[in-house]
């Protein structure tokens, strides 16, 4: 068991390092922050000074080593734009993002899972077909299109809700719905197919053959099995709590991490982008770790030291 945890932690660590490395390389290949931040007309001396002060004149390998050395000392660097610690900048934005993504996550779960289960139990009915069509649409329609559609209807035409900003609770409603519907569609589709798969298994027939009522068969025999694959997707949704709202935040001018990311990328604000990516990778990897351990709890076949057949 300890070896299992250690290998998983090591794998998680390597994943994070790879993500950060990738970001590091791509950002440095995609344009010079000095020219972008100071503007194309800045005098060469100013650019040189800027580069020297941020260490951009060093060879890339040296920057890379210094960057990682700093991370291990808890220093995620300064924003090139306003000179504040990148970590502080990002942390300031997290509550705003979570204010959208956490309610959206609950919306996804509350809509997606029951819809998927119900559709699977009533396969082929009008409800099932409706769920499937909605799910395919939720899958196919990009979130900005959905967002714009919602804005058009509820903000522009009906005037019930604001179209952007973060002044009142009302401002959060459209972004949350946009995020929630898309995820709910994917979750419903996934839950439905997991449930259908389980309902076709011989042990479901066995459970019925014992005389258990159908509701009991579904509750005690089908759902625990269908939960196993569904947990993977839920884990992914939890993992994208921070990064999952980039588009929606942009559309609704919501001052969250996603918007910060977009601005930072545009400005080649290296430290901020790297800090966000590190944070996103850590959340994703952590939720994956939790999913792995949940598997063990849900599925005895994966439990450690499985007592093999005699």
């Amino acid at each position: 068991m300890i070896r299992f945890i250690l290998t998983r932690l090591l794998r998680a660590f390597v994943t994070i390092v790879l993500v950060v490395t990738f970001a590091f390389v791509v950002l440095r290949l995609s344009g010079d922050p000095a020219t972008i931040i100071l503007g194309p007309e800045a005098p060469p001396e100013a650019i040189a000074a800027f580069r020297a002060s941020w260490g951009l004149d060093q060879p890339v390998m040296v920057q890379y080593v210094q960057y990682f050395a700093a991370i291990f000392q808890g220093d995620l660097g300064m924003s090139m734009r306003d000179g504040r610690p990148a970590f502080d900048l990002v942390m300031e934005r997290i509550p705003a993002t979570l204010a959208l993504t956490i309610p959206a996550l609950f919306l996804k779960l509350a809509l997606g899972v029951p819809a998927g289960v119900y559709a699977a139990l009533h396969q082929g009915t009008a409800f099932d077909r409706t769920v499937m069509v909605a799910a395919v649409m939720g899958f196919a329609v990009p979130s900005f299109v959905l967002a714009l559609g919602l804005v058009l209807v509820f903000a522009v035409n009906l005037g019930w809700l604001p179209s952007g900003g973060r002044d009142t609770v009302w401002h959060a409603i459209l972004p949350i719905i946009t995020l929630g519907l898309g995820g709910a569609a994917a979750l419903a589709r996934f839950t439905r197919s997991a449930m259908l798969e389980v309902l076709g298994q011989p042990y479901i027939r066995t459970a019925s053959s014992k005389g258990l009522a159908w509701a009991v068969v579904v509750r005690s025999h089908a759902l625990p099995n269908a939960a196993i694959p569904t947990v993977t997707l839920i884990g992914f949704l939890v993992g994208s709590l921070i990064a999952g709202a980039i588009v929606v935040e942009s559309v609704f001018s919501w001052p969250g991490v996603g918007r910060l990311m977009v601005v930072a990328v545009a400005n080649r604000d290296l430290a901020v982008v790297q800090c966000i990516l590190l944070l996103v990778a850590t959340t994703m990897v952590t939720s994956n770790l939790i999913v792995d351990f949940l598997y063990g709890a849900l599925d005895p076949r994966l439990r450690h030291g499985a007592r093999a057949a005699a």
């Binding site: 019925s208 053959s209 258990l212 599925d299 007592r307």
Partner: protein, 334 residues
């Protein structure tokens, strides 16, 4: 003879318009072991799944299945649920996938005890252990906390049998109970089923594609082909002198350990349920088919005490196949 425990009358089952069972009449008497034999697609399993209403909703089921004079096919669902697992138990082919992988053995047996016997608490635990002992499970106490994947196929089938016995049924339907098991384990399980049947005075329906298994374990046998019973009778008499060309063919096609003889293969394949031949379904594969076989599906009629036959030419002389080495090209068939 006593009144039958379960009587199936005129049972028809179709899936999306394709008939799987076509007018089956069958009676199971208290305490008897009835074998139902046939190849894949013969409808032998579907007959009993339909009788217990375990088929998916798209199956169209007609006919009557009576237990104590009540028609199971028209019983309200809660009453049917009292019969399933209570009066009639059923076990399936692949025990390892027929048990729920995420629930302990204790949990899966206890469900039945709580439902049909009204037991609770420590009584359940004691009874579950007693049942595992009864089916010959080594270390019954310890096995209660195991999961199906931790046990062998034979042990899982023992658990299935224990579960089926938990409701103290009058009839146990065993659907290919040993097909997925090794030969020596198959012998153990069949032996166990016989022992339990005698001790509990329970009736047994043994569904199998293996004539040998049915012959050795059943008092009475019904042979099914393409959704119909083509012949039924006492096991010994039927296997000794089958009257239906298909039953004869099945016996001649079965290799034995006694000698090597050329196996008499039945030419052709089982008909497609969507495209049934006219008249007798076996006609196109039958060496004895005559013009009368094209007229109608022959009904199952009594031809001797305890023996019934569905053949338009009931007086055929079906002497055992002689070893006739035919050139293999003559068998262009399947």
């Amino acid at each position: 003879m006593k009144a039958p425990l379960v009587r199936i009358k005129g049972l028809n089952v179709a899936f999306d318009g394709a008939p799987a069972v076509r007018g089956v009449d069958l009676a199971v008497h208290p305490g008897e072991a009835l074998g139902l034999v046939g190849e894949s697609g013969s409808g032998k399993s579907v007959t009993w799944l339909a009788a217990l209403r375990l088929l998916p909703g798209k199956a169209a089921v007609q006919g009557r299945v009576t237990l104590d004079g009540r028609d199971l096919l028209s019983l309200p669902t809660p009453e049917m649920e009292r019969i399933r697992g209570g009066r009639i138990g059923i076990i399936f082919q692949d025990p390892s996938s027929a048990l729920n992988p995420v629930l302990t053995i204790r949990r899966q047996i206890s469900e039945v005890l709580a439902l049909h016997r009204g037991l609770s608490g420590s009584a359940i635990r004691a009874e579950a252990k007693r049942l595992l002992d009864l089916v010959g499970m080594p270390d019954a106490e310890g096995r209660l906390n195991s999961y199906p994947h931790e046990m062998s196929g034979g042990q899982n089938q023992r658990v299935m049998i224990a579960m089926a016995l938990a409701g103290q049924p009058d009839l146990l339907v065993a659907d290919e109970p040993t097909t997925a098991l090794d030969v020596t384990i198959q012998a153990q399980i069949l032996d166990l089923l016989q022992l339990i049947r005698r001790e509990m005075g329970m009736a047994l329906v043994l569904i199998s594609h293996d004539l040998g298994v049915v012959a050795e374990n059943c008092d009475r046998v019904a042979v099914m082909y393409a959704g119909r019973i083509v012949e039924s009778g006492p096991a010994a008499a039927l296997f000794d002198a089958p009257r239906h060309p298909y039953a004869r063919g099945l016996i001649d096609a079965l290799p034995t350990l006694e000698d090597t003889r050329r196996l008499a293969a039945i030419p052709g394949v089982v008909p497609d349920p969507r495209d049934m031949p006219r008249g007798c379904a076996f006609g196109p594969r039958c060496a004895h088919a005559g013009p009368e076989c094209l007229l109608d599906s022959p009904p199952l009629r009594a031809v001797a005490p305890g023996r019934r036959l569905a053949c338009a030419r009931p007086d055929l002389d079906l002497t055992p196949a002689r070893p006739t080495p035919a050139p293999h090209l003559a068998e262009v068939t399947s």
